[in-house]
């Protein structure tokens, strides 16, 4: 009997710990799926669930608060989704909360997100229903892309007509571009205009020296000078400010560079340590 008790307690310990590990695994996995503890149900209707599956997480304010329990087709355009939620978050979910389906990360699982409403103060009941917001579907995206592509098509068509009429038409623009005669006449017109304006400016000079207008022109010159001085002062001030700003920036950059160097040094040291 003594010999037996020597190993039975070891055997007992072995079996107990082994089974305990198993029970713990079962418990924690169950807890993850909200099988234990008090829960409540919410339903919501969607036009499409875009790949949502039973067991996907339900998020409220970014926290996992439940899982999708059931997905059922109600009729040809309605899907009913039943959610199991932790009882402790029920007080935060009001009757005007909305459910939407998004994806977790770029390639991740689908996630059902519950967003709080604005007005209602009434806490949702067990088996209550909340409204749904349809997420952006690929189809909708393609529709809007198609619209803009169509517009681009129309624009390019009109552009083609425009350039065609430029090349082949007889309008003023087309002739300006193509016709040599037209170009010559335009340049002639311009040179004529030049000589005309020269004459005009000479007339003006003559007018300045005329006693009738002299006073007026002198006044104008004075005003101009004053304005120019003011401008100079302003510019100088602005320059000074700019310089100061530059100096500050440079200082900051130097600081940043120093910090970077320090970091790099630290990393190198770490790597070296790791190698060691």
């Amino acid at each position: 009997m003594e010999k037996q008790s020597g190993y039975t307690w070891k055997l007992g310990m072995f079996v107990t710990i082994g089974l305990l590990l198993f029970i713990m695994a079962v418990y924690f996995i169950g807890k993850q799926q909200n099988l234990f503890g008090s829960t409540f149900h919410i339903t919501s209707q969607f036009k499409t669930v875009s790949g949502l599956e039973v067991g996907n997480n339900v998020r409220f304010s970014g926290i996992n608060v439940g899982t999708v329990e059931q997905i059922q087709l109600k009729n040809d355009s309605t899907v009913v989704v039943v959610l199991v939620m932790k009882e402790e978050v029920r007080k935060f979910i009001k009757t005007d909360a909305t459910a939407s389906i998004g994806s977790d990360g770029l390639m991740g699982d689908k996630v059902l997100t519950i967003s709080p409403g604005a007005k209602s103060k009434k806490v949702i009941e067990d088996n209550g229903q909340i409204a749904s917001v349809d997420g952006i579907e690929m189809q909708d995206l393609m529709k809007s892309v198609k619209k803009s592509v169509d517009n681009v098509g129309i624009i390019s068509e009109e552009l083609a007509i425009f350039s065609h009429s430029m090349n082949n038409g007889n309008g003023a623009l087309a002739r300006l571009v193509k016709d040599d005669k037209m170009a010559n006449s335009v340049s002639n017109t311009l040179s004529n205009l030049e000589t005309g304006t020269k004459g005009f400016s000479e007339n003006m000079e003559a007018a300045k020296s005329n006693f009738l207008f002299r006073g007026y022109f002198k006044k104008k010159e004075k005003e101009k000078k004053e304005k120019a001085e003011e401008r100079k002062e302003k510019q100088e001030e602005a320059k000074k400010e700019k310089q100061e700003a530059r100096q500050e920036k440079q200082e900051e950059q130097e600081k940043a560079a120093k910090e970077k160097e320090q970091k790099e040094k630290e990393e190198q040291q770490k790597q070296e340590d790791a190698k060691k």
Partner: protein
Amino acid sequence: MILNIKNTFAEIGETTIFAKRFFKEVLIPPYETKEFLRQCYVIGYRSLPLVAITGFIMGLVLTLQSRPTLVKFGAESWLPGMVALSLIREIAPVITALICAGKISSGIGAELGSMKVTEQIDAMEVSAVNPYNYLVVTRVLACTLMVPILVFFADAIGIIGGYVGINIHGDVNFYRFLTQIVQSLEYLDLLPATLKTFFFGFFIGIIGCYKGFNASNGTESVGQAANSAVVTASLSIFIIDMVAVQITDLFF
């Protein structure tokens, strides 16, 4: 060649009859409780260090090996879940079963083989003790019940090994590590894997016993019995594993 194949089938048939006898005798008293507990101790507790070391190393190595690939995809945060999944679903049961096949199956084969060769089994029969009940039933039952528990240990220790492996390159809180694992697990990962370990244990026990019980006379047949017990048990483990995984895949 044909004789060889025929012999193989004959052996499979005899093993089946041998296993059938087990199910008959396991329910019939007298129950050899004391011997059963002793066998549990030898098979379960004594194998624990071996299983613990292999489990730890498997967890550690699996983490280190799968890390570079996951980093390439930017999915490093899936590492704990992936390691735990592969450990619990496949690696811990199979590795533990193989270790047990090496340690237990060969041990039983050699022990029963030498008893058969030295005519101790015959002596038992003469002294009105049912040798099958006393030797085979206790060992097979102990194997069937202890191997799953050893697998639980291997799971847990393998996960600890994975934690050590992750902490070689980064710094992850143990609690965070555990939540990540639990998040990626389902009952479907745990239950079929546990169920198949019972079959592993049963086959390890029954093959070891059959080989030992049917050892021919002569000293070298003891070694032969031990050797073929290990080989057959290891092979049967892989076959059971394949069938179990296919059935699981079919239903879920």
